[in-house]
């Protein structure tokens, strides 16, 4: 199955998910519609150019306009465009709304590599290992500048932005390797900021989780060998895999960083609100507005604590910069707060 990442010739990339199938349907509709209009316009132009070329004794006809014709070529495209828009919105909704049971993996982009942080504490660089037929939701942020996470085989992409979390989700249905590109220009080695997604059969995935040797079957990317060579040359930094689950790492961190002096884990209010039972719920702010506590809110409240202060508390918390709490640590802290139901 080597070299199968792209369909042969000028076709679209392999259909790695059901979303990709839906996307391709819309694409080919647009493609053939465009062919029709291209032939209509350019074919018409060439036909007129030949038939009405300047000839002895032939005079041009004096025509100024034709309201019926003009109305036709205004109304028909308008209707078609509305259909295209609606279809596009429909497929887009599927692309951006992950199922609630999706497995979460945290992604951190930085110049010029991708780190993948798993719930169980595992950390991988430039390689994301996922099980087949299971929805996977990526919660992504950047340590430095803008990046963008793009998987052609799954037809999904999202920018990866410092200071906020964006998401991409997919449900792989083809085992093997799938190419990931960074598609937002990020400096010198932008074109080297590549990663692979390894889609494993359930049994192999369990082996990988248990840190045992596993076999990757299915499609390979053409550039597979290039990757192997780059890794061997030590071009990408391989981080040590943490085996402590993410929420536990977060618990240790909030203790080590002194957060627990003001924030409890049992629901009791101290100087700041408790961590317990807040994730996914609404909090009322000092200015009367309401906000849902999610990844973006927690991250913002740590980096810029005065931005949205919860009602009943004083704005006394100092801001924590990236030098004090890294994005990797931030993910662990969020996972910990999330685990306190």
């Amino acid at each position: 199955m080597l070299n199968q990442i792209y369909t042969k010739g000028a076709g679209l990339p392999l259909q790695g998910s059901d979303v990709a199938v839906a996307w391709d349907g819309l694409y080919w509709f647009l493609f053939w519609l465009s062919v029709f209009f291209f032939v209509l316009v350019v074919g018409g132009m060439i036909y007129f150019a030949i038939v009405y070329r300047q000839r002895e004794g032939k005079k041009a006809k004096y025509i100024v306009d034709n309201h019926l014709l003009e109305a036709t070529w205004t109304v028909i495209p308008t209707v078609l465009l509305l259909v295209i828009f609606a279809w596009g919105w429909n497929v887009y909704k599927r692309m951006v709304q992950p199922p609630s049971d999706a497995m979460e993996v945290r992604v951190i982009g930085k110049q010029w590599l991708w780190n993948f942080q798993y719930e169980d504490g595992r950390l991988e660089t430039n390689k994301l290992v996922v099980p087949i037929h299971k929805p996977v939701k990526l919660l992504m942020t950047s340590e430095d500048v803008l990046h963008s996470f793009f998987i052609p085989n799954f037809r999904v992409k999202s920018d990866v932005v410092p200071g906020m979390y964006t998401t991409v989700w997919f449900e792989a249905k083809v085992p093997g390797e799938h190419q990931v590109f960074c598609t937002e220009y990020c400096g010198t080695s932008h074109s080297g900021m590549l990663a692979k997604i390894e889609v494993l059969e359930p049994a192999q995935y369990e082996l990988w989780k248990a840190n045992k040797p596993y076999t990757l079957s299915g499609v390979r990317t053409i550039s597979s060998d290039i990757f192997a060579a780059r890794r061997a040359a030590g071009e990408s930094t391989q981080l040590k895999s943490e085996t402590i689950p993410l929420p536990e790492q977060g618990k240790k961190l909030v203790e080590a960083k002194g957060c627990t002096a003001c924030h409890s884990a049992d629901g009791s209010a101290r100087i700041g609100p408790s961590y317990k039972g807040i994730f996914g719920h609404e909090a009322e702010l000092a200015n009367g507005e309401k906000v849902t506590v999610d990844e973006n809110y927690i991250s913002e409240s740590i980096r810029k604590p005065q931005a949205k202060v919860v009602k009943g508390f004083n704005p006394v918390m100092p801001p924590y910069t990236k030098e004090m709490i890294s994005e990797t640590e931030m993910n662990a802290i969020i996972a910990y707060i999330k685990s306190l139901k």
Binding site: K59, P162, S223
Partner: protein, 540 residues
């Protein structure tokens, strides 16, 4: 229009014309004559077109095959930045308004000059001054932000970013002043009898363009100033590390730069709205619809910027609205394309070079427009954005539209500007090279892009080698075509046969005066008595 004096015009080069009216370099550098200023714009624009083109050729050579780069990654990123910034800010935006518009618009109105000739000269020097800043940045080591200056990279990267930002900032004022000048000229200086409904379509297109230039350019200026403040004083506006919002920059940037796309394309549409009826010997089809469509496009231009941000982290609701609004760009654009083809119906079509460029324009622009619909469609854009599909799309629109408009227009007005005729054989061959080379360069990029090939990559993966090779070979044909045009024009300006006042038998006013025109454009103020597209069958 007024044809009474056509017959009396001599075919000889007029004794006293704008080229020999006063002599010496100083008379050019201090000229207030819109025709000379137009030519100065043209020369400067073409110089930068050459520079930006050479950068593109090096980039294509670098991408020709995997594992054989000809420049290093940093150099490539700088070439990519300057190719974009030069082509957008110093070539395409000023090209047609600054060069062709300046030369032709006042004459089409029967005016002696633009409303504010001094401001017009100032606009040229402001443009030149901005260009010098950009050139200084190039000499000072280059900049690798990309022409879009996305934050926070543009705040953090080293190099003379400020110089490029200042260059674009300053050049923007030239654009505003030209726009202002055209609006006032069109309102105040039209010849007796030239009612709005007798105004040539190029003037309508330039009017719509001017409105965008005047209203949108200040937003870019403000954005660039904010970016400079952030780089120098570390004020947190766009960089999240300083408490800013990087997506805000994208909104500000595209609030100008999307309308700017129409600054680039509307004038080219205007040029072909003149050329097509002249060479079809027929009235333009749907005059009113084409004029209105220019304003429709200008209006929609201001409310679709968010379609550049579909995967930026912008909300889904915003994506919904911007995708829907963007669809409506295609309607007036379609009306124009259908009307041009409709103009050819039952015409008596002549195949001179300007008309060939019109054919080429319709072919390229149709592809550019249709692929624009792909990108306006939300789901499709998620996969396609930031791939070569986008690169191919906007080159089909900008080169296929604006540059074809510029080169087509240069052929069309060449006899008016120089009094001599270009060489039709060379012109046809160069057109062939350009149209073949263009399609070979950019069509494969649609395929590579739909397969996922990302833009702004110094090194592409080997699976895209075939498309990259075709594209690089195409760029050579394209280059040869442009060199042929340059050769022909430089040679024919001195040695071409005398063209006479109106070699195309066109009806707009600029052809109803000697070639080259006298300093004050017209020997007597023309009086307009009819529509500029009144090609009665009797005229043949």
């Amino acid at each position: 229009m007024s044809h009474s004096n056509t017959a009396t015009l001599s075919n000889e080069i007029h004794g006293d014309n704008y080229l020999n009216h006063s002599k010496g370099l100083k008379s050019w550098l201090t000229t207030l004559d819109h025709k000379r200023i137009g030519l100065m714009y043209l020369a400067t624009v073409l110089f930068f077109f050459l520079l930006g083109g050479i950068f593109a050729l090096i980039m294509r050579l670098n991408l020709m095959s995997y594992g054989h780069p000809v420049v290093d990654a940093n150099t490539y990123n700088k070439l990519m930045t300057f190719h974009g910034a030069i082509m957008v800010f110093l070539v395409i935006i000023p090209a047609i308004p600054g060069a062709i518009g300046n030369f032709v618009l006042p004459m089409m109105c029967g005016a002696k000059d633009v409303a504010f000739p001094r401001l017009n000269l100032a606009s040229y020097y402001i443009y030149l001054f901005g260009a010098l800043f950009a050139t200084a940045a190039l000499i000072g080591g280059g900049v690798d932000t990309g022409w879009t200056f996305y934050t926070p990279y543009s705040i953090r990267t080293s190099g003379p970013v400020i110089l490029v930002l200042l260059g674009a900032f300053i050049a923007g004022f030239a654009s505003i002043l030209t726009g202002l000048n055209f609006i006032v000229t069109l309102h105040k200086l039209r010849a007796p009898g030239q009612s709005w409904s007798r105004l040539p379509l190029l003037c309508w297109a330039l009017y719509a363009t001017s409105i965008i230039q005047v209203l949108a350019t200040p937003v870019l200026a403000i954005t660039l100033v904010l970016l400079m403040m952030e780089r120098v004083f570390k004020i947190g506006i766009f960089d999240p590390a300083l408490g800013g919002d990087p997506i805000l920059f994208q909104h500000f940037f595209w609030f100008y730069s999307h309308p700017a796309v129409y600054i680039m394309i509307l004038p080219a549409m205007g040029v072909f709205s003149e050329i097509i009826p002249v060479f079809s010997r027929k009235p333009i089809f749907g005059y009113r619809a084409i004029a209105l469509a220019s304003f429709g496009i200008a209006l929609v231009a201001f409310i679709v910027w968010g379609h550049h941000l579909f995967v930026s982290g912008q909300s889904e609701l915003a994506n919904f609205i911007f995708s829907l609004l963007t669809m409506f760009v295609a309607v007036p654009t379609g009306v124009k394309v259908f009307s041009w083809v409709g103009t050819m119906y039952k015409g008596s079509i002549r195949f001179n070079a300007p008309m060939l460029y019109a054919f080429g324009f319709i072919e390229l622009f149709t592809i550019g427009g249709l692929t624009g619909v792909f990108l306006a469609t939300l789901a499709i854009d998620v996969h396609m954005t930031d791939t070569y599909f986008v690169i191919a799309h906007f080159h089909y629109v900008m080169v296929g539209g604006s540059i074809m408009g510029l080169v087509g227009g240069m052929h069309y007005w060449f006899p008016k500007v120089t009094g001599r005729m270009y060489n039709e054989t060379i012109a046809k061959w160069s057109f062939g090279f350009i149209i073949f080379g263009f399609n070979l360069t950019f069509f494969p990029q649609f395929i590579a892009g739909s397969q996922g090939m990302p833009r702004r990559y110094w090194s592409q993966l080997p699976e895209f080698d075939l498309w990259n090779r075709l594209s690089t070979v195409g760029s050579w044909f394209l280059a040869v075509g442009f060199v042929m045009v340059a050769y022909d024009m430089i040679r024919s300006a001195r040695k071409g046969p005398i063209a006479g006042p109106n070699p195309w038998e066109a009806l707009t006013l600029e052809w109803q005066t000697p070639s080259p025109p006298p300093h004050e454009n017209f020997i007597e103020t023309p009086v307009v008595t009819s529509w500029p597209y009144e090609y009665k069958p009797s005229r043949g």
